[in-house]
């Protein structure tokens, strides 16, 4: 083919390609899913979950447009307008992270499916499925405690009336994992020192539970301070506590948790939005270690465990 004709052909092909691309984009735009991602707070775990959510959808070919909203940016009196704005976009799906965002959107988005993630105990706070909860089952925790702290036989648990169910669950899990649960219920937060005093005398470690009646900044400070004194290791609620002085904690893989939520969302989408899924527990658990605390408490942590840990503090 003469050179001139070859050039002209090349130009025509390039133009057709770009036209196809544009057409695809146009058509794709028409066929894309619009998902609102609403975060309760701008914290790392929520961001990680949101990232996992988006990546999963992208990898699986979902044609999505994601619009992020941070609820903590708005004041109480602005929420209504924000919610209206979200709903006005007529999303195909609303993905919420955290109790606050989930409760708000579930209350207002009547016609749009809402999938949540990162809610700790959904039925306790009135959150409805579908969604991926954040709570790691106690049996999982106990299995890991046995692996990490083989010498621990008795697990202390300080709870309040609002977390009595957790105590019951712990008793059951302890039975399954051959742990004795030393529990002490608090009447009020001011009883914590005494309760700790009592429990720490009997238990090999203290397991923190997500009960704000029992654990708040000062009580946690007291707990960690006293645990040093009494050399009683604390199983923290998250790696933040391990960093602050707990020995070990069990965390979700927040990114994977987001991906889990994305899976759920796709299923709902495939189902036409009617899938009435149950709560899904996180499938990946990781733990954090504080070697300095372990050293101070004369607790030997095997290297293999250390290598397995998701986060290690106090190297």
């Amino acid at each position: 083919m003469p050179n001139k004709e070859r050039s002209i052909t090349r130009i025509i092909l390039v133009c057709l390609f770009w036209l196809a691309l544009v057409a695809t984009a146009v058509f794709a735009a028409d066929n894309s899913e619009l998902i609102a991602v609403v975060l309760s707070d701008n914290i790392g775990p929520y961001q990680a979950a949101a990232k996992g959510f988006k990546n999963y959808l992208s990898k699986n070919g979902a044609n999505i447009q994601i619009v992020d909203y941070l609820m903590n940016e708005y004041k109480e009196n602005e929420l209504t307008s924000v919610v209206d704005k979200i709903l006005a976009n007529k999303q195909n799906l609303i993905f919420t992270l955290g109790t606050y965002a989930t409760k708000v959107m579930q209350k207002t988005a009547k016609d749009t499916p809402v999938v949540f993630a990162m809610v700790l105990i959904p039925d306790k706070v009135g959150v409805l499925p579908p969604g991926v909860v954040m709570d790691i089952p106690l049996t999982v925790k106990f299995f890991n405690i046995k692996k990490i702290l083989p010498r621990v036989k008795r697990i202390g648990l300080i709870y309040s009336a609002s977390s009595a169910a957790l105590y019951e669950e712990a008793l059951k899990a302890g039975g399954k994992t051959d742990f004795k649960i030393i529990g002490k219920m608090l009447e009020s937060g001011r009883d914590f020192p005494a309760a700790f005093e009592e429990v720490s005398g009997q238990a090999d470690c203290i397991l923190m539970i997500a009960d704000s009646e029992v654990y708040f900044a000062k009580s946690v400070e007291h707990l960690l301070r006293e645990s040093y004194t009494k050399k009683i290791p604390v199983i923290g609620l998250s790696s933040n506590y391990v960093k602050a002085g707990a020995l070990v904690s069990f965390d979700c893989d927040y990114e994977d948790l987001g991906a889990q939520a994305a899976e759920l969302a796709l299923k709902i989408a495939a189902d036409g939005g009617t899938l009435n899924a149950q709560f899904v527990s996180p499938r990946k658990v990781k733990f954090a270690l504080n070697l300095k605390v372990a050293e101070m408490m004369n607790i030997a942590i095997p290297e293999s465990i250390i290598n397995e840990a998701g986060e290690v503090f106090g190297r």
Binding site: D41, N72, G98, I121
Partner: protein, 614 residues
């Protein structure tokens, strides 16, 4: 009490320094006080916040032991004198220290308990927290130490201010004294010297600042002042001289402006016109002219003014206050500025009324005198004519005798001869003609001599005048055995004179010479030499008449031209001859001098101006 400029400046500076340093000191004291207070407050609040934070949990859990420990720790903090912990109901849970104390500042803070708002917030460490006030912490801190610190700081600053003032004052004093006081004193000294009269004094300051410039300007000023003083002195002297002159002079000093109004007159005007100077000032110069003369003089002066010319001896008639007319002779000089504009005239005037009157009288007297003189001359001439008469008669008699004799001879011949020709009588006729001409000449001379002078000066020939007189006197002198030698120059320039008077002087001088010769020796006779000459280029011609008569004694030489002076016996002369000669020569602008050797000779030397020289 006199305060010098240096002291004033120093005082001013000190006041400024005091104000400034006091202000700065006050500012710093206040600032320090504010800082200390602020630090106190900040420290107190930090303590309060820290204590409240520590108290939160023990209060929450009712841990009195821990609260007590915290309380004891609080009381040990600097300046804390009291604390109290109150629960949310307002009930005092714990307190310590002494509450009531003066000079204490009170602080309080809420004791806040924070809880995560949600369970996952508890797990995730979210910032969404709920807070609850569970009590209040009250602290009282004594400000005694603060007050003392403030006092100490204030004292230190005050001390610094005082030291600063003292040092600044000291240095300002030094600086001002050196930089200002000393140069000013040098300047003052210079002023004293100069005011004492030492205008040549030079201020010894050469600093490169305003004082140095002032000194330089001052020195220049004194140099100029020196010049000006001299000028002023000279001016003063000139002014005094002027004032003395204007006061002492009899002349009227005046000045008018360009319009002709008087702007200055001296006091003499009152004597002249009867008006005081202040009555003249502002009036036009022509207001005092005689009304008949006013317009003409005004016009004449206007022409002079327009040409900006000076005028001299301007005669003008003015009317005095009493109505009398005074004649003023004025002289004026124009005053012109650098642009050529006429500013006015200055001059002087003199009352010449008396002078004019005297001139008139003098003129009249002169006329009278001239008339008298003319009469005298004529009388002398007539006397001379009288003197001449005999000689002239004799002079005429000879030629007439000759005429008669020759006519008689011709008559006789004519009677004796019947045939005779004119040729035979030609010689006799020639003799008759010659005699008749001689008579004519003599009579003409006599007529000319006797004619009264008309007083008209016109070009005449001196030689001719000599000739005319010779005609009259030659014969008689011959009879007296007096020889006339004539040495008259040829081409003698004409002189301007009166012919009759000139003949008179020649005649009278010859007559005087004749008398002198006769007095010496009547028998021996003598010689009269008449000489005329002219030196080339001279304005005068010379006439000398010498005789070898009796001469003139030395003591009489000076008097011979005095009227009525004579050495002739009474009846022989009036003594007017030579005085008339003298006067006539004077009238002709000539000179006469006499030289005489008594007993030998006398020479009258006369000079008369030639026509061009008159």
């Amino acid at each position: 009490m006199k305060i010098g400029i240096s002291q004033k400046i120093i005082l001013l500076f000190i006041i400024l320094v005091v104000i400034l340093t006091s202000s700065i000191g006050t500012f710093f004291v206040r600032r320090e006080r504010s800082i200390l207070l602020s630090e106190f407050d900040q420290r107190s609040r930090i303590l309060l916040s820290s204590a409240a934070t520590n108290i939160e949990y023990p209060l929450l859990v009712g841990d009195l032991g821990t609260l007590n420990k915290i309380g004891e720790g609080i009381l040990k903090q600097q300046d804390v004198i009291f604390y109290s912990i109150v629960d949310k109901e307002g009930k005092v849970v714990l307190w310590g220290g002494a509450e009531k104390e003066k000079n204490a500042r009170k602080y309080s803070a809420s004791i806040i308990s924070e809880r995560q708002s949600g369970t996952e917030d508890l797990v995730l460490g979210s910032q969404m927290k709920e807070t609850e006030e569970i009590g209040r912490l009250y602290l009282s801190l004594s400000i005694n130490s603060l007050t003392q610190k403030i006092k100490d700081v204030s004292g230190a600053i005050a001390l610094l201010v005082v030291i600063g003032i003292i040092l600044a004052s000291f240095f300002i004093n030094l600086l001002v004294k050196f930089m200002l006081g000393r140069p000013i004193n040098i300047l003052l000294k210079g002023i004293e010297k100069i005011s004492g009269g030492n205008l040549g004094y030079k201020v010894p300051l050469a600093s490169q600042d305003e004082i140095g410039e002032l000194a330089t300007s001052f020195n220049k000023m004194t140099r100029d002042l020196q010049k000006t003083t001299v000028s002023v002195k000279v001016l003063g002297e000139e002014q005094k001289r002027f004032q003395d002159v204007t006061r002492s002079t009899e002349d009227w000093i005046w000045e008018i402006d360009a319009e002709g109004r008087y702007i200055y007159v001296n006091s003499v005007i009152e004597k002249i016109l009867g008006f005081r100077p202040e009555e003249i000032i502002g009036k036009y110069f022509y207001e005092f002219y005689l009304p008949d003369d006013k317009e003409a003089l005004k016009k004449e002066m206007s022409e002079v003014f327009s040409k900006q010319k000076e005028f001299k001896n301007f005669i003008n008639r003015n009317v005095r206050r009493d109505g009398e007319v005074v004649i003023i002779e004025s002289t004026g000089l124009p005053q012109i500025d650098e642009t050529g504009k006429l500013l006015g005239y200055r001059g002087a005037g003199r009352d010449i009324t008396e002078r004019k009157r005297a001139e008139e009288e003098l003129r009249a007297a002169y006329e009278e005198l001239k008339h008298t003189q003319a009469q005298l001359v004529q009388s002398a001439k007539m006397a001379s004519v009288g003197v001449l008469a005999g000689g002239v008669a004799h002079e005429i008699n000879n030629p007439l005798t000759g005429v008669l004799n020759n006519v008689q001879l011709i008559k006789m011949i004519a009677e004796q001869k019947n045939n005779f020709s004119i040729e035979e009588f030609k010689e006799l006729l020639n003799l008759i003609e010659e005699s008749a001409l001689r008579c004519t000449k003599i009579t003409r001379s006599l007529l000319s001599f006797s004619r009264a002078s008309k007083g008209i000066l016109q070009p005449v020939s001196l030689n001719e005048m000599v000739d005319r007189v010779m005609v009259l006197v030659e014969h008689e002198l011959k009879l007296e055995n007096i020889v006339i030698q004539r040495e008259t120059a040829d081409n003698l320039p004409l002189i301007r004179g009166d012919a009759q008077l000139l003949q008179q002087i020649i005649f009278d001088t010859i007559t005087n010479s004749k008398w002198a010769i006769q007095k010496k020796s009547q028998k021996d006779g003598g010689v009269i030499i008449i000489k005329t000459s002219h030196e080339p280029g001279s304005r005068f011609i010379n006439l000398s008449i010498s005789d070898n008569g009796v001469g003139i004694p030395k003591e009489n030489l000076e008097r011979i031209f005095e009227p009525f002076f004579t050495t002739k016996p009474v009846g022989e002369g009036t003594g007017l001859g030579l005085s008339i000669v003298y006067n006539i020569i004077k009238e002709h602008n000539g000179t006469i001098a006499v030289e005489s050797d008594p007993g030998e000779r006398t020479t009258f030397k006369i000079t008369l101006p030639v026509v061009a020289a008159v």
